[in-house]
């Protein structure tokens, strides 16, 4: 609402952060009936800044998944299931690491098996994004590659790190996921499906 007496105004603190654009709204809302709004604006402001430059600032300021998605009723099935399973997986990998620290290999193995059992259901949530699907698949392949052996401490740590990353960034891109595949390989895990490796090394792939 403009004032009729012109003065030099201070910047108004009630200026909305989300501008609606130049379109002049015209619709009306009838009494007693629930109607959609006359204007809806959904905005994202990004400057493409490099994360490494702002890492320190980000860690203290950034929104967590809970803060970004605060309404329990608004979650999609995939999102809420993935967060639940990832939470369970993180707990199990922590228990396994604790067991290794107290030299209880049997408990560590049991906890890692429980983690492995979560992965197929987690893979069903791959509609969240290609990066998510890639990483869950790589964990499944890593377990398969171990052929029943208990992962060593470094491998457990790396798997736990991947689960934490997925829990924090379930919508990560494929290139971000690929970086994690390299990290899994660096601790001696094979994050690629055995069938793919067989195919790539066969004559069929050369043709």
């Amino acid at each position: 609402m403009a004032t009729l007496t012109n003065i030099i105004e201070f910047s108004r603190s009630y200026e909305p952060r989300t501008p609606v654009g130049a379109d002049a709204p015209t619709a009306t809302v009838e009494a007693g009936e629930r109607k959609p709004p006359e204007t809806v604006t959904l905005a994202g402001d990004g400057d493409g800044a490099r994360l490494t430059e702002r890492n320190q600032e980000l860690q203290s300021l950034r929104l967590t998944q809970k803060e970004l998605y605060p309404a329990q009723q608004a979650f999609s099935t995939e999102h809420v299931t993935a967060l639940r399973l990832l939470g369970e997986g993180i707990v199990e990998s922590k228990r396994a690491l604790d067991a290794i620290a107290s030299r209880d290999v049997l408990i560590a193995d049991l906890e890692m098996q429980k983690l492995q059992m979560l992965l197929p259901e987690l893979f069903c949530c791959r509609a969240l994004g290609d990066g998510f699907g890639t990483l869950v698949n790589s964990l499944m392949s890593a377990f398969e590659g171990l052929a029943g052996e208990t992962p060593n401490t470094d491998q457990m740590r790396m798997m736990s790190r991947v689960l934490r990353l997925l829990s924090d960034k379930p919508f990560l891109s494929t290139s971000e996921a690929d970086e994690q595949l390299d990290a899994l390989e660096s601790v001696g895990l094979n994050p690629y499906p055995a069938e793919l490796m067989d195919f790539l090394s066969s004559e069929q792939s050369v043709r």
């Binding site: 989300t18 015209t26 809806v40 959904l42 994202g44």
Partner: protein, 205 residues
């Protein structure tokens, strides 16, 4: 980028193409990408559109982030503007008064006998991470438009006054969000839920 958006929505049409801003339109929905901001703006959306918005938002922002190689969003925002029309300015003012949002002294004030009109009520909640601005106001909208001489055969002049109450809610993030954390479809559903849950205090439900 626009080509890939066009693949999803073939009926989209071009509105503005400038180096710093490109905008397209599909029905009553505008898609805008400009320096530092990408935006979807819908005027008079149908009820069904409100259900469709998460899907449209997911597609549009995902493609924008992917093609412009954005790694961090400084801010996300969802703004809803509602308008309820009344017969005249006084009726809109008395409806606003009945909401009991502000205390208005009785009697003559500033040498004016009449009750206040075009009232406004504004509240902002803001933390280091998120914020919301709620505005409620009685508003008079005037449109005075005369068509250019070459168009008078097709359009008549528009001289119209509308009086009503506007409820304007802007829900936004203050802290940065990494793109790996973000699905705009999911976020818009959460934002819509939070707005419709918390705005009820205005109407004393």
């Amino acid at each position: 980028m626009w080509r890939s958006i066009q693949e999803k929505y073939p009926d989209i049409r071009i509105v503005t193409v400038e180096p710093s801003k490109t905008s397209f339109q599909r029905g009553k929905t505008a898609f805008v990408v400009e320096l530092k901001t990408a935006r979807i703006n819908a005027v008079d959306p149908e009820k069904s559109w409100m259900e469709e918005i998460p899907k449209v938002a997911r597609d549009f922002f995902k493609l924008t982030i992917q093609h412009l190689e954005i790694s961090l969003c400084d801010r996300l925002g969802l703004r809803l503007v509602y308008f309820k029309e009344f017969k005249d300015r006084e009726q809109a003012a008395s409806a606003f008064h009945a909401m009991d949002l502000v205390q208005v002294p009785d009697g003559k004030r500033f040498d004016v006998d009449q009750h206040p009109v075009n009232q406004q009520y504004v509240l902002r909640w803001e933390s280091e991470k998120k914020g919301a601005l709620v505005q409620c106001r009685a508003e008079t909208r005037k449109t005075d438009w005369d068509p250019p001489i070459e168009s008078v055969r097709f359009w008549g002049p528009v001289h119209r006054e509308q009086n009503g109450i506007v409820v304007d809610i802007d829900y936004y993030t203050v802290a940065p969000v990494e793109v790996g954390q973000l699905d705009m479809g999911e976020w818009s559903k959460h934002a819509l839920h939070v707005i419709s849950r918390d705005i009820r205090y205005l109407f004393k439900e």
